[in-house]
């Protein structure tokens, strides 16, 4: 009798846990659901427009943005970045030796799951890994020449479509961690990323319009007028954390890389238009 009961309960447990696993949504399903959400909320905005973030919701700001795009403030950085990119390291190698296709036109694939390193690798992280592999000191992730190299590499990817293979195994776990981070309330203000960028995208937060989650990774690095220089998306992650009175994590923290990976998977198929300028 006990054996029968044990067998039945194990069977049930197995079925329940298998069912629990199959009821989790896949990245493709999450992506589809996100697009449906925004497209039903804003039926007049085509999917391709989301690469310009909050500017799609404010015509005046959009007009100014389009004028700036004619002569963007990051042009100098891209030129200087190109020079830096082509300058060999002390050992004679260059950045091109570390990247697929010599580093040209590949920025839209980042962040990606690095099977060998068993972690998510973002473009700035990859740039520093390249430096270290060639005996050079890593550069700071903020206010340094690294942003210029990143800007140049991003520039060579303009117009390409964001791509990412559908994650499985450990990559899928990283995606799930990033996804959970996005929807967890944190900080003294007890807010999730979704509060501003999903529920209240296109609503005013004081005078500002938070950019929507959809398309948020397509245009980095960004020359923010507020920073008066280029910055990576993780600089903004740190700012967002501080603004809800949470402690910001260090650049390229595992949590941030996983978060960026989740957001990247949501943008697959959209046009990459980095670098860009923002307020």
């Amino acid at each position: 009798m006990i054996r029968l009961l044990t067998f039945v309960s194990l069977l049930l447990l197995g079925t329940v846990s298998a069912w629990a696993q199959t009821t989790d949504t896949t990245p493709a399903e999450d992506r589809e659901a996100l697009r449906k959400f925004f497209q039903s909320k804003f039926p007049d905005i085509p999917l391709d427009a989301y690469k310009d973030g909050a500017y799609i919701f404010d015509p005046k700001a959009r007009a100014q943005f389009e004028e700036i795009e004619e002569f963007p403030p990051w042009e100098f950085d891209v030129e200087e970045g190109e020079e830096l990119f082509n300058t060999p390291f002390k050992n004679g190698k260059t950045y091109a030796d570390c990247f697929e296709n010599g580093g040209i036109g590949i920025a839209q694939k980042y962040p990606l799951w690095d099977e060998k390193r068993q972690e998510v690798v973002t473009l700035p992280y990859a740039i520093n890994l390249c430096r270290e592999a060639n005996g050079e000191q890593p550069l700071p992730y903020e206010k340094s020449d690294l942003l210029k190299v990143q800007a140049y590499m991003a520039y060579t990817s303009r117009g390409k479509r964001i791509e990412a293979p559908e994650p499985t195994g450990k990559a899928l776990e990283a995606y799930k961690k990033g996804r959970e981070y996005y929807y967890s309330k944190r900080g003294q203000l007890d807010m999730t990323c979704a509060n501003c960028h999903l529920q209240h995208a296109a609503s005013r937060l004081r005078y500002e319009l938070p950019g929507p989650l959809l398309g948020q990774t397509t245009h980095w690095p960004v020359y923010r007028s507020k920073w008066e220089e280029l910055g990576d998306i993780q600089r903004r992650y740190k700012e967002c954390n501080k603004q809800v009175r949470a402690k910001d994590l260090p650049y390229q923290a595992e949590e941030y890389r996983n978060l960026q990976y989740y957001m990247h998977l949501m943008d697959v198929g959209l046009e990459f238009n980095g670098p860009s300028s923002r307020k």
Partner: protein, 130 residues
Amino acid sequence: MNKTILMVTLLTSLFLGACSSGSDNAQTPAAGSAPPENSQAAESARLPLSEQAKQALEQAIKHYEDFARQHRSFLWRDTELLIAQTKEALQKGEFDLVLQSAEKVEKEVRLMQGQVEFAKKNWRKFMVNP
């Protein structure tokens, strides 16, 4: 663990309270000296905590630091500063400040713990589901 900290906090404040009222009787302020309240407060702040209480406080602070490390993505900016402040005050022997800070940290750590648990159970509710 939390109950122990609360107990220790209560006991310690009682102990200090007893000490300051004790010094009331022991010291008769001389004419023209500093007002009695200040010297009493200074005395109670510098009165040694029992070894037990000190160790319990050190343990509590270590518990807060461990929590901050383990759940760093839920750590509040101000709490990190407060924990450091509490530790410093304990090392300097400023026990009034230690207890004040520790009480605040205790409250905040409990709220953060709540956030950790809430997020684990409820994060999906904030997602757009298919």
